[in-house]
Symmetry: none
Subunit: 91 residues, 4 copies
DNA sequence: TCGCCTGATAGTTGCC
DNA sequence: GGCAACTATCAGGCGA
C-alpha cells in the first residue's frame, strides 16, 4: 500500500474530480432538458407525446444510419467504395 | 387540427430540436466520462473501485444535504427558522 | 401457436397468479405503512420529518454497506482477501 | 426541545422502527416478484409480455370494480340496495 | 464474445 | 398541480 497520498494518489484524485465535474455538467444538461419540457408543456404541448416524437425521430436516425452502413458494406463488397467516405488512408 | 405547419408547429419543432441538441451534448459528456475511466484504467486504477469511491462521495454529499434539510424542517416546525437562510423577506 | 390452453398455458397462468398474489401482499404492506404514518401524525409527529429521518437512516445504512464493499474490493484488488468473508471453500 | 430521549422519543423511535420493518418486508416481496419473473423467463416466457398481461388484468379488475360501484350507486338511487353488500347496519 | 446482471435513467403513480 | 417515491426499461460491465 505504498503511495498513499503520493503521486499515484494525486493522479487518482484528479481522475475522480474530472469525472465528478463531468457528471455535474451532465446533470445541468438534464435539468435544461426538463426545463424545455416544462416550457413546452406550459405552451400547451403534451410532454408525453413529445417524448414519443423524439423516440420515433431517434429510431429513424438509427435506421437511416443502419441503411447507410449497409449500403457502404455493399458497395465495398463490390469494390465500389464511396469516395465521400473517409476510410483509413492507404498506408 | 388547425395550425398544421403553422406557428404552433414551428414552436413545437423548436422545442423538439432544442431537446435533441441537449441530448446530443449529454451523450458527448457521457462519452467523455467513459474516456476518463479508460484513461484511469490504463494508468493502473481499477474502474470498479473508482465507481465505488464516486458513489460514496455522492452519498456523503446527499446525506449532508439531507441533514441540512432535516434541521431546517425541524426548526421550521418549531417556529424557529434559521436566520442564515434567505427566504423572501416579509414584504 | 400450439399449446393454447395446454400445459404451457397452465404454467403461465400459474406465474401470473403468483405475481398477482405477491403484488396484493405488497399493497397490503404499503397500506400498513401509510397507517403507521397516520397514527404517528395523530400522535403529534410530523410525517415530513419522519420521512427525512427514515431517508437519512437508509442512506447511512447504504453508505456503510458501500464502504464495506469498497474495502473488500480494494483488498481483493491487492490479492489480500478478507479471511472473515465466506467465499466458496477451495474444494 | 424537551423530551429528548424521553417518552416521546421512545414513541417516535417505535414508529420509525415499525416503518423500517414494514419496508423491509415490502422489499422482500419485491424480490420474490422479481424471482418469479426470472423463473418464468427461464421457462421461456417473455417478462415484457407478462407485464402487459398483468397490466391488462389489473385494468380489467379496476374496471369491473368501477362497474360494480356504478351499479351499486344506481341501485341505491332506486332504493334497491343489493342485499349481498354489507353496508352500515341500520343502527 | 455472448449472455447475464447489476446499475443508471426515464416514466408513472401517489402524496402533499 | 407540483413534487417525490417507486417502478420499469435500458445500457454498460462482468464473467463464463
Amino acid at each position: 500500500m505504498a503511495d498513499v497520498g503520493g503521486v499515484a494518489g494525486e493522479r487518482l484524485r484528479s481522475f475522480i474530480q474530472r469525472i465528478e465535474r463531468l457528471e455535474e455538467e451532465k446533470k445541468t444538461i438534464s435539468d435544461d432538458i426538463r426545463e424545455v419540457f416544462a416550457e413546452a408543456k406550459s405552451s400547451g404541448f403534451d410532454p408525453k407525446i413529445m417524448r414519443q416524437v423524439l423516440k420515433i425521430r431517434k429510431m429513424e436516425t438509427a435506421e437511416r444510419q443502419e441503411m447507410d452502413a449497409l449500403l457502404e458494406t455493399y458497395l465495398a463488397a463490390l469494390g465500389m467504395a464511396d469516395p465521400t467516405d473517409d476510410p483509413e488512408p492507404p498506408g
